[in-house]
Symmetry: C2
Amino acid sequence: MSELGVTVKKDIEFGEWYIQVVLKSNLLDYAPIKGFIVLKPYGYSIWERIKEIADKRFKETGHQNAFLPTLIPESLLSKEAEHFEGFKPEVFWVTHAGNDELGERLALRPTSETLAYEIFSRWVRSYRDLPLKINFWNTALRAEIKSTKPLIRTSEFLWQEGHTVHASREEAEQEAMLMLSIYKEIMEEYLAIPVIAGYKSEKEKFVGADYTLTLEALMPDGRALQMGTSHNLGQNFSKPFNIKFLDKDDREQYAWQTSWGISWRLIGAVVMVHGDDKGLILPPRIAPIQIVIIPIFYGDESKDAVLAKCRSVYAMLKDRFRVHLDDREEYTPGYKFNDWELKGIPLRLEIGPRDVKQGKVVLVRRDDGKKVSVGDEELLDVITNMLEDVQHSLYARALKFLNDHTFSALSYDEFRNHVEHGFVKAYWCGSQECELRIKEETGADIRVIPFNSHDEGEVSYKQEGRCIYCGKSAVKMAYFARAY
Amino acid sequence: MSELGVTVKKDIEFGEWYIQVVLKSNLLDYAPIKGFIVLKPYGYSIWERIKEIADKRFKETGHQNAFLPTLIPESLLSKEAEHFEGFKPEVFWVTHAGNDELGERLALRPTSETLAYEIFSRWVRSYRDLPLKINFWNTALRAEIKSTKPLIRTSEFLWQEGHTVHASREEAEQEAMLMLSIYKEIMEEYLAIPVIAGYKSEKEKFVGADYTLTLEALMPDGRALQMGTSHNLGQNFSKPFNIKFLDKDDREQYAWQTSWGISWRLIGAVVMVHGDDKGLILPPRIAPIQIVIIPIFYGDESKDAVLAKCRSVYAMLKDRFRVHLDDREEYTPGYKFNDWELKGIPLRLEIGPRDVKQGKVVLVRRDDGKKVSVGDEELLDVITNMLEDVQHSLYARALKFLNDHTFSALSYDEFRNHVEHGFVKAYWCGSQECELRIKEETGADIRVIPFNSHDEGEVSYKQEGRCIYCGKSAVKMAYFARAY
């Protein structure tokens, strides 16, 4: 493979492999400021697919989009004390406009709870105004002090943040759970990445939330990646921000709230989970191009017939699939094969003089490299099935990896051993001290406490639950892992 | 009309009328920082429609979307001196991240030329990389010192900025003109607002451009509104930013560039141009809801039959139109009429017990208030035609207003008199001194120099062209007006 391709093996130098793939496949580029990236058209077109899918599900479930400014006055950001303390170290501050120093510093939105809720408090008067279910597609800005990684940890990122207001605790609980289930569906059905759903621990929850629901995936290096979160905010914000409503009996009540978000990190997860030594592999349901057609001819005598067939195949496919005909003449077919493999297009069609004569087309799958020759009349059916099969195979492979790298531990030695390689399910007494000690000694966090974690049968072999660290009686089973 | 409605007349208190309409129709709200606004779901859904229409046209003409960070280092923003001087007074500056003072100030994007072109210089190597045609949907931040007006002049605004790189001067010229024609199509065909197309004067052009193309509309108070601009940047940026390519003969050349943008200001224009004393009037092609169905019943005996018919009409219409059934029980039909009139929905369907019996539906047009009763079987056809008719009537009315308020002036007295009421077409010698004097004395700018302005016939009666101010031989005919 030429130097244009990826020059390291995914298994051997995973970190360097990731950087080469995201840069060389034209997903993104570095920006002039450290810790910031530019999403190039190819990367952005994947984000547009994810956005389209999520936006449709949000709207189907009664959410509406809106726009909030980027800037939040310091007095507002600091209104919920715990929330402010959490974000303060990473806030970018505007102090001047033109030559004038501002009377009050303005924060670049690290997240919009405080700004949104100040405004919501004016919009909510009565139970008739509820539920209020609003979403914002924007960016969040958080100065990253730790080392950054494109799409996974950057000082500005594309995301959506949903914010809802409800008349009861139960409705807010249901909303937080509904959004988690929509996120899970997007990750599993579209991105082909299996996730573990459940609660964050108190230590790991969103600052200001009653509790945080999370979806966690496992990356090929055995580290966990938080894919999306949904927070039940209780009345923690409605009280300082004074979001009150008159209920049906004319009594004034504080509202109940949720917030939830996913970001371009999902693209980073797709790269890590599905990619191989040749580059990206995109699941067909989110691939901006699902099929690339490559004409193959040597010399002019076959050119016209080959191009004519390519164009007619393109015309046949274009209303059913996202298809691209690469008829650039300044590049060889071999160069194009590598280029589109690097970009992860699920299916490649090769059409040469022999295929024209025989009424056939050669199909090559990106995921396993298998090649078949298909008669023109079967082409539509074969492609339809093959794209579905690629989608499911990618998921199955990722699920097998997750299962093979999810371990149970009943002793701390076992725990230390497994935690190098993936998720470790272990009992935990519930104390933050044990959680902190485990983190210090092994680098592993509690990533997620699964919904059924009170059921002791969750750790795969039966035994009475004892905290993996202190040996005291356990209240919960948790998934531990080192994380991004 | 209740206090929920607009309490002033458009003709009498235009400024106050505008503010009441945008607030009461739920388009937007004020943000906690002066000069900033929040776009509420209803306002945002209109922006989504405009975005969808424009995005489709951009993609059809070979443009791709991408993402750039919000922050631009000062050293980069100042690389093109004239550009920097122009934007400096309005730049928001980030000086701190967390508790740390930054080594270099970071500007919040007032526009992205400098950041984009620093990055483009890495992407462009050869003629094969050209043209590069990229668009960004984001916000621009410019601290407004003058008085602000929602959607028209705010310190942050939603917009798109397109940036292209070409191998020749001619190609860049064609691109700038192509984008202007797409903008004109959106404004006239979708927003139903006629615009005058042409050049900005040297004084009014974009800082850093060779020349700026503009589209100008006339608001009901006789002031002009700049609706969108497209800039031919020549090589003014490619030189300082070092955007060079190897041409087919292997010679290194500086590239040729354009940039162009439209913003949520277009929504403000729709409000001003089409609205009336009852509130908004939305052109059907951009209305998020084109038709609202309102059930009318008194007491329970007719309720079921009326609601059943409303639902079946809704089901019949929903795949062809953007339709909403307002079956809220806590509001009276009268309240709903006012509410949807305020929001500018083009067509209202009323369905009562008599309509159920007679197999009819009552249709009310928002633009002229005309009411017709239509048989169920004709409904689809009548609605299809009526929506088209509303679209065209709104345009025709706006065009008539534009024509009625576009004057020609051959003397300065005539000029002063007309300029209170709309556009004044007048000859101009081309000197900036005359342009400045006219501005000082009358408040009117040169808004646009139409494409055919060398043709002296443009001023409606024949006479040799003499500058309206100094009387010297004129080189151009220009449209003057006071402006937002």
